[in-house]
């Protein structure tokens, strides 16, 4: 296990964490502001990826594809909020779960109806493909570095939006007391649609960025969604900062656990069995992490509600 390999794995963990953050940020924003559990967030990730793949296939431009992913996911999010979600704010969480689960099925089968059952093609643009050599002789794919950079930019943008702009103040106020800000003359209905669309756009962006190195297929959002929920539980529901730290923790734990746990088991077990046990435990690692965080801080690392 060389130092180069470890550095490379840490970068992989960061990159994975930052992509998780894009998903978790929207999820935590929507939960924090509107108190809504949105299981269909993974479907918006899928919508972003499919829109990007379709536009990239038609025009050949990756930038246009990203723009399309943002627009399509935001539009889908706004539409869903206006047609379905709006009726659920006052409902019990179980009703929200049921309704948004139905949305997952509708999105999945709808996407299959439009694009067919086979995965779509979306590739990295030529100028970002291939590896670059980092200081220390580490070969690392350029595109993954770009993903890390893009994710950090989005995180900074979100921080700026929530702390430095008028909309951000309204969002934070809405989190604390929705009746009060409505009484102050802020159109809360429009604010909710906006927040939902922002969350959806972030998920769509993540879907498009990740779709270029993964398989663009129906159901691609659900595995990410589960991890995104873990992230917001660890980070503290409703906290963007918590989502960022939580996402990095989950990304690093998942990646490094997958590498080191099998190696650890090899110290006292036979090779094949060691890798199998180690990887089984690695699959549980993030949930174990979540358990410990919740024992230590029941409302998550940055959770405000006790």
């Amino acid at each position: 296990m060389s130092a180069i390999l470890i550095v490379e794995q840490v970068l992989n963990g960061l990159q994975f964490g930052i992509m998780l953050f894009l998903m978790a940020a929207g999820l935590t924003l929507i939960f924090g502001v509107m108190g809504l559990i949105n299981l269909a967030h993974g479907s918006l990730y899928m919508v972003g990826a499919f829109a990007a793949a379709w536009v990239a296939g038609a025009t050949g431009s990756f930038l246009l594809a990203l723009a399309a992913a943002l627009a399509a996911a935001a539009a889908a999010g706004a539409l869903v909020e206006m047609l379905v979600i709006r009726r659920l704010y006052k409902a019990a969480h179980l009703d929200q779960v049921l309704a948004t689960f139905a949305l997952i099925l509708i999105f999945s089968e709808g996407t299959r109806y439009v694009f067919g059952s086979f995965p779509l093609f979306l590739d990295i643009p030529d100028c970002l493909s291939g590896p670059v050599t980092l200081p220390g002789g580490i070969q690392y794919p350029l595109y993954r570095l770009v993903l890390i950079g893009a994710g950090i930019l989005v995180a900074l943008g979100l921080w700026w939006l929530t702390t430095r702009t008028r909309v951000g103040i309204q969002i934070r106020a809405g989190e604390n007391d929705r009746e009060m800000i409505a009484a102050l003359g802020i159109n809360i209905t429009r604010l909710y649609t906006l927040v939902f669309a922002i969350g959806a756009a972030l998920a769509g962006l993540a879907g498009a960025l990740v779709g270029a190195i993964q398989s663009v297929q129906v159901g691609m959002g659900e595995p990410v969604l589960i991890l995104a929920f873990v992230v917001i539980v660890i980070g503290g529901i409703g906290s963007i900062r918590g989502a960022f730290i939580g996402a990095l923790l989950v990304g690093l734990t998942d990646t490094l656990g997958g590498i080191f746990l099998p190696e650890l088991f090899k110290l006292f077990m036979e090779g094949g069995a060691a890798t199998q046990t180690g990887s089984a435990l690695a699959a549980m690692a993030v949930y174990i992490l979540m358990g410990f965080v919740l024992i230590w801080r029941p409302s998550g690392l940055f959770g405000s509600r006790a």
């Binding site: 992989n12 086979f118 590739d123 590896p131 691609m220 595995p223 997958g258």
Partner: protein, 376 residues
């Protein structure tokens, strides 16, 4: 979500429907992430039924959503209320393990168009269970054999951590004579392989064997191509079938994979199948489609030779496998799994379409490692 499709063969062509003599229950995956495979099997199967022009085979199709509990419910329904004679269609080994032992114990026939888990080929074999595709290990054993002929001496091997993944690495190691640099189990459904690719880079191997079916394979190949690691890759056909190659794109070009079928196998049945499938569905068939097509033709050959109500005669007719397969000669071994030739294929581009071309034979007339354990 319950999606029930009732397809009666030939219904459209008949004025007065005669009572179907054989009722077939097809349980397969038609929704969710793995739907492409089930759809191909179904389309291949129904093409053969349609081409036969028979009106005495009725097919009831249901979607298992890739969930074992749903597959079991559907099987119960098909056996008890639909009263089918023959079941088929299951794609995934875990679903097959949940359904096949119980339906064969109830005296029904099961023809597997895809899954071939090792217990059903060995100790758990059953006289009413026939596998028309392969035993799970077969294509991986062929990959190991190909790696020997290609001169690889040190392989990094990789599969998801579930029963078919373990079977895959076991199968490869059974035939591969070189050294295994490292053996890695990934999570089932994993989409990011950066960590594994870094391990490959650091491993000092001279080749990579991977079994990552469906979307997992697409993700792996795209990320591998972008990583700058240029070791040769070999794998079973499941990551290189017609349905997903277009989504992998250039990253798959030149990769060698092993399969019991390809569209350029030179026999008249196969040529007619490829042409007929394209004409009917407007796309190239995959190996799954060929397996569905062969399964239906095996069934038709048995229906012609024997009455399904006479189970012993019908079983003998199935065992004789007296039909023209898309793979050429087709025969069952003693455990009702195929004895067949497995080819090495290379991914090529024909015009705008990515597809496979046979470049050699990996294993000739190959059976499976479990046949000896089967006592029927």
């Amino acid at each position: 979500m319950k999606k029930a499709v009732l397809a009666t063969a030939m219904a459209a062509l008949m004025a007065t429907p005669a009572a179907a003599e054989v009722k077939v229950g097809m349980i397969t995956t038609l929704s969710g992430g793995g739907a492409g495979l089930g759809i191909d099997v179904r389309d291949g199967f129904m093409l053969a039924i349609k081409q036969s022009g028979r009106d005495d085979i009725e097919v009831v199709i249901e979607d298992d959503q890739r969930k074992p509990d749903i597959a079991v419910q559907l099987a119960d329904k098909m056996v008890q209320s639909e009263k089918v004679d023959v079941l088929t269609g299951i794609i995934w080994s875990n679903l097959a393990m949940a359904v096949v032992p119980s339906v064969t114990a109830q005296g029904k026939f099961y023809l597997s168009p895809n899954a071939g888990p090792s217990p059903l080929a060995g100790k758990g074999c059953h006289q009413n269970y026939f596998n028309v595709a392969w035993q799970n290990d077969n294509l991986h054993e062929a990959a190991g054999a190909y790696a020997n002929t290609a001169g690889y001496g040190n392989s990094f091997i990789l599969a998801p951590n579930y029963p078919a993944g373990t079977d895959a690495l076991t199968g490869y190691k059974r035939t591969f004579e070189g050294n295994v640099a490292s053996e890695v189990y990934t999570q089932l459904g994993q989409t990011d392989y950066a960590a594994e690719i870094a391990q490959i880079r650091a491993s000092g191997a001279d080749s990579v064997f991977f079994f990552l079916p469906g979307g997992m394979g697409i993700s792996f190949l795209k990320q591998y191509a972008d990583s700058g690691v240029d070791l040769p890759v070999v794998g079973p056909a499941f990551s290189f079938d017609q349905g997903i190659l277009q989504a992998v794109g250039d990253a798959a070009l030149g990769v060698v994979n092993t399969s019991q079928w390809n569209k350029d196998i030179d026999n008249p049945v196969n040529a007619a199948f490829v042409e007929g499938f394209q004409a009917e569905y407007g796309r190239l068939p995959s190996l799954y489609a060929s397996q569905g097509f062969d399964t239906a033709n095996l069934l038709i050959s048995a229906v012609e030779a024997a009455d399904v109500s006479d189970a012993d005669a019908f079983r003998e007719a199935l065992r004789a496998a007296d039909f023209d397969s898309t793979r050429g000669d087709f025969a069952f071994g003693p455990n009702h799994h195929p004895i067949q030739t497995i080819y090495a294929r290379e991914v090529v581009k024909e015009g705008d379409v990515f597809t496979n071309k046979i470049i050699g034979t990996a294993l000739e007339n190959h059976s499976d490692a479990y046949a000896a354990e089967c006592k029927m």
